[in-house]
């Protein structure tokens, strides 16, 4: 004879259902309303920002080839819709952003002047870090962009700290902390998840899953390849988002930010995207086929997608061409600036080590 379920077991089952619902609710809300209803002007703006990142990165790649940029240089080509879609939902001057070493795109998406970014890449005094940071270490406290961090995963607890500061001050700000599918395997990420959830910190954790942690395909390095599920153990709701469509990204960002701003604690977003170039400039990318890259470029490119949509909406092609032209000149100007600015003075070697003198 089957036993009747006890009251306790029933309550537990109900609670479990409720919990599952809470953890999945944002994903469900996203599935129900996938794309942001952008006006033509908004979409044109997104297109322009993505194109700026694309052209800027192409130019950076060229300058690297010419020996004007040294060291590591990680390009964002292919991933543009992620930074543009997410950051368009943030409030400038209020919300903070932090990321890893593939940081040029996030800075451009936050409206930071391409000239000072490019000049940092070439190691010049006019660079945003006075030439002392380089590609991986750029910051703009004016824009609440907090880097630019070279140690894989370190930006995740740092981002939780920025969120802690938002909450402590009660300034209503949210931190958006980006990291890659590779960084998602670092232990400190989960230490940060735990505390962020425990203390209900206002933070959106963003996994930019571009398929490869340097040369290691996601399935070779991750037991759970659905990164948005990885917050479940910490009661952080997850969202699985197409990172190749700027309007899907933006729609998801709105849902996540509403949840976080309401004081519910963190959200974990997985943005499925793809980088067309190697991990860094020195990466021959032998771990994947040309066909795979070509397929993404041909069928899923976020910029081509936005362009096609603009045309389908009846936006005049001239307006798009005008944007293309403007972006080319902005990027050319930033490259000229970066090439022709002087290197830092030798005295800069000793400045900014400590703030105070002792």
């Amino acid at each position: 004879m089957a036993k009747k379920p006890t009251a306790a077991a029933a309550a537990k089952a109900a609670a479990a259902t409720e919990e599952t619902f809470a953890l999945r609710s944002l994903q469900e809300a996203h599935a129900a309303n996938k794309r942001y209803a952008a006006s033509d002007e908004e979409l044109l703006h997104f297109y322009e920002q993505m194109l700026l990142i694309r052209r800027f990165e192409e130019k950076a790649g060229q300058l690297y080839g010419l020996g004007l940029i040294g060291g590591f240089c990680h390009l964002y080509i292919g991933q543009e819709a992620v930074a543009v879609g997410l950051q368009s939902a943030l409030e400038a001057g209020k919300d903070s952003v932090i990321t890893g070493y593939r940081d040029h795109g996030h800075m451009l998406a936050y409206g930071i002047d391409p000239k000072v970014i490019m000049a940092e890449l070439t190691g010049r005094a006019a660079g945003i870090s006075r030439g002392k940071g380089g590609s991986m270490h750029m910051f703009s406290t004016d824009h609440k962009f907090y880097g630019g961090h070279g140690i894989v995963g370190a930006q995740v607890p740092l981002g939780a700290g920025l969120a802690f500061a938002h909450k402590y001050r009660g300034d209503g700000g949210v931190c958006m902390a980006y990291f890659g599918d590779g960084a998602a395997n670092q232990g400190q990420v989960y230490e940060a998840f735990n505390m962020a959830s425990l203390w209900k910190l206002p933070i959106v954790f963003v996994v930019e899953n571009n398929g490869y942690a340097m040369g290691t395909a996601v399935k070779r390095g991750s037991a759970e390849t659905e990164f948005y599920r990885r917050g479940t153990a910490f009661r952080i709701p997850g969202m699985d988002v197409n990172g190749m469509d700027v309007l899907e990204v933006r729609a998801a960002a709105n849902i996540a930010l509403d949840y976080v701003r309401a004081g519910n604690g963190p959200v974990l977003m997985e943005l499925n995207t793809y980088r067309y170039r190697g991990h860094s400039m020195s990466d021959p990318a032998k771990y994947r086929s040309r066909e795979e890259v070509q397929e993404m470029r041909d069928k899923h490119d976020p910029i081509e997608g936005a362009k096609a949509e603009l045309l389908a909406r009846g936006v005049a092609e001239d307006r798009i061409k005008e944007i293309d032209k403007r972006i080319r000149s902005i990027v050319a100007e930033s490259a000229d600036f970066a090439e022709n600015s002087p290197e830092p003075e030798m005295t800069e070697l000793y400045t900014d080590v400590l703030v105070e003198s002792y």
Partner: protein, 450 residues
């Protein structure tokens, strides 16, 4: 047969404690597991359990007695039905001595000591433990600046693993005194990020041994970001906690990280010895715009020193202090080593050698000038450091003397450091591994050719 109950050692560093409360009375029958008394140690109030069965014969130490030495007989248990036995003569002596030992609860520091020139002459002094001085420094800075908060393991409800944060939760509440999970890498990163976001975090590590898990954030995130950002990104965080060998806790819990952090540009590293420096420098560290590693010492927490009674006792970072003046030789040290150096100076004074004891106090930036000035005066120098010899603060001070003080040297500089081995557990081996006054005195005799 009667059983003597002795004052238990309830922590690795406990030498004496307070018998806060008896929970049994004479004539009570007790069995194994019953709580007999509450004993206050240097870290917490602990319950003292019965291990044996029997009838409480005599309570030999009164409730509220402070400074009861570990090993003192505090009560006697007799067999059931057995009359309360007369305590053995030894126990009587021990019990009788307890109230006497109780007078100064904390070990006094060696004298004589030179007044700190940073403290105005004529300032009233009161006695304070280093532990209280550190707590007061944090409390005063928290009252002064709402951006200051404290986070770490057991800092709030538990009142601090070593009681350094005692009372802070009560005064400042849980938004400013924050218990973290055991997750050093994570909370060091959160503290660093909060500093980047404009707050003034004081991040406590239960000990600096555990900060090894977090060293990436201390060095890569906190120390370098101001430079890498061309001066845009401030990171005014304080990482603090006990450093160096404690007592009988073995190699993984006994290590001096002073030389590690002091080698990193972008960090300020402070390692005070006495209560006045602990307070004045911790307040300075909290106000400082740079990231600070503040190295305390568990064995010194309970020691009492004179502390200036000033409304706002803040000391300059980066300045060494002459703890004792002398003309024959300089002993340079920091943290717990200063105590050994002062002891050694006493021994040497009896032999007619006047040693100057210089406490570095800040390890980065290092007060070279103070070292060289003292060397120019005494022409002989010994470095005493509770830590390993290779790549140490001692090696650094020796290099400074060679590079910039060579003409003043009348003898090679010697260093007295811990033995170059992981710290052993066995009491005799541990004692053999760690510096002491006798070894410092021996090195001084050598450089004085005595």
């Amino acid at each position: 047969m009667s059983i003597e109950l002795k004052m238990p050692a309830l922590s690795p560093t406990m030498e004496e404690g307070t018998l806060a409360k008896w929970l049994v009375k004479e004539g009570d029958t007790v069995k194994s597991g019953d709580i007999l008394a509450e004993i206050e140690t240097d870290k917490a109030t602990m319950e003292f359990e019965a291990v044996d069965e029997g009838v409480i014969g005599k309570l030999l130490v009164a409730e509220g007695t402070e400074g009861v030495k570990v090993g003192t007989v505090i009560a006697v248990i007799g067999d059931e039905g057995e009359a309360a036995p007369a305590p053995a003569p030894a126990s009587v002596a021990a019990a009788a001595s307890a109230p006497v030992a109780a007078a100064p609860a904390e070990r006094p520091a060696p004298a004589p000591r030179k007044a700190d020139p940073a403290v105005p002459a004529g300032t009233n002094m009161k006695m304070s433990t280093v532990r209280e001085a550190l707590r007061d420094a944090m409390a005063e800075e928290m009252r002064r600046d709402s951006r200051v908060f404290v986070m770490g393991e057991e800092v709030a409800e538990y009142q601090g693993a070593y009681k350094v944060t005692q009372g802070l939760l009560e005064e400042f509440g849980p938004t400013r005194v924050i218990d973290t999970p055991i997750t050093e890498y994570g909370f060091a990163g959160i503290g660093t990020g909060a500093a980047m976001g404009g707050l003034r975090p004081v991040v406590e590590f239960m000990t600096f041994n555990f900060a090894m898990q977090a060293i990436d954030h201390i060095i890569n995130s906190a120390a370098k970001t101001n430079y890498m950002s061309g001066g845009q990104m401030r990171c005014p965080v304080v990482f603090r906690g006990p450093n160096g060998a404690a007592s009988r806790v073995g190699a993984q819990h006994s290590q001096n990280y002073g030389p590690w952090y002091a080698s990193v540009p972008g960090l300020v590293v402070i390692a005070p010895y006495d209560a006045a420096d602990a307070k004045g420098l911790l307040k300075a560290a909290i106000r400082c715009e740079d990231p600070v590693v503040f190295l305390e010492n568990e064995l010194v927490y309970g020691r009492s020193f004179e502390l200036p009674e000033l409304d706002d006792h803040v000391l300059p970072i980066g300045k060494a202090r002459i703890m004792r003046e002398g003309k024959d030789v300089t002993i340079v040290s920091y943290s717990i080593g200063v105590g050994f150096a002062l002891e050694a100076a006493e021994l040497l004074a009896a032999e007619g050698i006047e040693a100057e004891v210089l406490d570095l106090r800040t390890l980065r930036p290092l007060d070279k000038e103070a070292v060289l000035t003292s060397l120019a005066k005494t022409n002989r120098l010994v470095v005493a450091e509770e830590g390993w010899p290779q790549c140490s603060i001692a090696s650094e001070v020796m290099a400074i003397c060679m590079e910039e003080g060579f003409d003043h040297l009348d003898a090679p500089v010697l260093r007295v450091c811990d033995e170059d081995v992981p710290l052993p557990y066995a009491a005799n081996l541990e004692k053999a591994a760690i510096i002491d006054a006798a070894r410092i005195a021996a090195a001084v005799r050598k450089v004085c050719y005595r």
